[in-house]
């Protein structure tokens, strides 16, 4: 019976039918009911189910795109919580992108970076400074704030700024290894935050601890983007670009050289891989994705200050990578989604619920124990549990599977080639 059931689940069409039913139920529940957090989360989880389905890659991507671009925004639009769902989804996208960036550094290249949020900050500030009157404090030419159209250019500029910051920090930092690297990056992460915190004197670059407010909203075709559901699509496009780029990188010459450096530096170098350059590239590319999302974050919040870029943020991103599975792209996506949803949705919902209970006088829980304040405790517990029971993360990284039959060159031509080359070499030796 059990075997029959599992073979039924393995079958492609039964999977497709079950999946469609699942989506239909969750999305209609989300659309029609008033209070529908669970169905929203289940609908997001359908993407995970999709990952494990027995379908072709292309089909999966098309279905995922359909879900993300149409069904999820449409289904959430039914209730009053539409914008808050979109806000959560946008933040999930931003964090996934950052976690994927950090995954290049920590997961693939094996460089433990505890100051990763610094690059996010660089991206965020690069847009904020120029999209507010702030820039006129030090720029001799031009009119500031720049218009909302500049946002699109700043996606690239922010990425480049972050990449430059990555290289600048990387050059001194990459002289040390392992634990020392972690400490030094932690220091640099804090340095960047403190620099932004204090760069309001003598010339006011960053607004100091006051931060920068009323950042110009992005504009496209004359439409100003201000609502979370609009940013959702911006984030989604950048996120898909990021995933695409990371997947390409992973199985390229570069991805292999990162992994080689992670596995054994001395051997990697003996194979002709330049260590410093390879590590710097990991830093720079990881930072780029983070910087781009920094720009989106600044535009979405319309206000940034140094408190958004604390050490805790760096840890959060690292938790996402470790939880999901270091070096595994689907794992890191899942890890980032789980942690963000936990932070923004589950913990706040739980807090509301607990507050409700204590208001009704059923139980009284002191404010200090409210779930929203237990974030650090929960992260700590997650890390300990994963280190003990699932050290490779939710979805452990896998090597690419090569198909031997495609790599075989037909035997005859190969033999002829070999003979020729041997003859040529023999002649060389004799000469």
């Amino acid at each position: 019976m059990k075997a029959k059931f599992s073979s039924f689940l393995q079958h492609k069409w039964s999977q497709v039918i079950l999946f469609s039913v699942f989506i239909a139920v969750t999305s209609s529940a989300l659309y029609f009911s008033q209070k529908s957090v669970v169905s929203f989360l289940l609908l997001l989880a359908s993407l995970l189910v999709l990952h494990y389905m027995n379908l072709k890659k292309v089909t999966k991507w098309i279905v995922a795109a359909g879900l993300l671009f149409f069904l999820i925004p449409f289904a959430s639009s039914g209730g009053p919580a539409f914008q808050s769902y979109m806000e959560v989804a946008t933040m999930v996208g931003i964090y996934i992108s950052m976690a994927l960036g950090l995954n290049i550094v920590v997961g693939m290249a094996g460089l433990l970076d505890l100051g990763f949020v610094a690059f996010f900050a660089v991206g965020a500030y690069s847009y904020s400074i120029f999209a507010t009157p702030q820039a006129s404090n030090f720029m001799p030419f031009g009119v500031y704030p720049l218009g909302g159209e500049s946002f699109w250019a700043f996606l690239i500029i922010g990425g480049i700024c972050a990449a430059i910051a990555g290289v600048l920090i990387g050059v001194p930092v990459l002289r040390v290894k392992g634990d020392y690297l972690a400490i030094v990056t932690l220091g640099f992460g804090e340095i960047i935050r403190i620099v932004f915190n204090n760069l309001d004197r003598p010339i006011n670059f960053t607004g100091g601890a006051m931060g920068i407010s009323s950042v110009t909203p992005p504009k496209i075709f004359g439409i100003e983007l201000v609502f979370p559901n609009q940013f959702y699509f911006v984030t989604l496009v950048i996120l898909l670009f990021t995933i695409f780029a990371v997947l390409r990188l992973e199985h390229s010459k570069l991805g292999r050289s990162w992994k080689a450096v992670r596995e054994n530096e001395i051997a990697a170098q003996a194979m002709g891989i330049p260590l410093v350059k390879t590590k710097l590239l990991a830093f720079a590319l990881g930072a780029t994705f983070s910087g781009m999302m920094g720009v989106v974050f600044a535009a979405k919040q319309a206000f940034i200050d140094p408190t958004s870029f604390t050490l805790m943020e760096s840890f959060t991103i690292l938790v996402m990578v470790v939880l999901g599975g270091m070096g595994s792209v689907p794992g890191v996506i899942l890890g980032a989604a789980v942690v963000t949803v936990l932070n923004l949705q589950v913990l706040t919902e739980l807090t509301n619920w607990v507050n409700q209970l204590s208001l009704n006088g059923i139980v009284s829980i002191p404010d200090a124990l409210s779930p929203a304040k237990m974030q650090k405790f929960i992260f700590g517990a997650i890390l300990v549990l994963f280190a003990l029971y699932r050290p490779k993360g939710l979805i452990p990284s896998k090597n690419k599977i090569f198909d031997a039959s495609k790599l075989k060159v037909s035997k005859k031509t190969e033999d002829i080639e070999n003979k020729d080359s041997v003859v040529v070499e023999n002649e060389k030796v004799q000469v």
Partner: protein, 256 residues
Amino acid sequence: MDILEVTNLTKEFGGLTANKDVSMNVKEGSITAVIGPNGAGKTTFFNMITGVYQPTAGEIKLKGQSIVGLKPDEVAKKGISRTFQNIRLFGEMSVIENVLVGMHNHLKTSLFGIFLSLPNTKKEELQAEQEAYRLLEYFELSHLINEKANNLSYGAQRKLEIARALATQPKLILLDEPAAGMNPKETKELTDIIKRMGKEFGVTILLIEHDMKLVMELSEQIFVLDHGEKIAEGNPEAIRTNPKVIEAYLGSAAVQ
């Protein structure tokens, strides 16, 4: 013609002299062995050639060009590749990926090509994979291509290291105790492979080995190090009967 010319190479670690005035010339296309007791400075010598250590004094020339002062990856680009005494594979990567890493410098694609997956990049990648597969076939590892390098048997790991080193298309390959830890059957196989490999890949082989049967069968020229100094050089027959070598290393049993 000599592919490698080493003159008066000296390495001091603080007060300890690991290599002292070592000179040796390696003929192109030959198989040459470096032997000597443990602690004689053989691996240090290899490490200086490959740029892991910088010599205190002396000169190393590859095809007449000095390679002193180059970093290990630059030495690799010049055409010297190596294996390690304590195996250093990329353990979590698959067997074929290990070989593909060896081809790093022969893949010309740019970051741009990787992102856009340009036809050139794809073609180059496929060719590299086929080449890697062929190398693994040569070493009889082709049925293991998707296996993690860590999961391989000891002998297979040793062979994979040689395959990976060959993937860099070296002119000179340094094998640091390739038969260490192998059983007699594996050693015999390895001996055959090394013998063929030099000719078929057009590569000069310089090896450190303690297995005298392998050394005597393979090498055209043998250098003997003891306490960091070269005490003898010559063909296997001359080394076998050299009284200095017998005293320092071989022991009298080898003469019979």
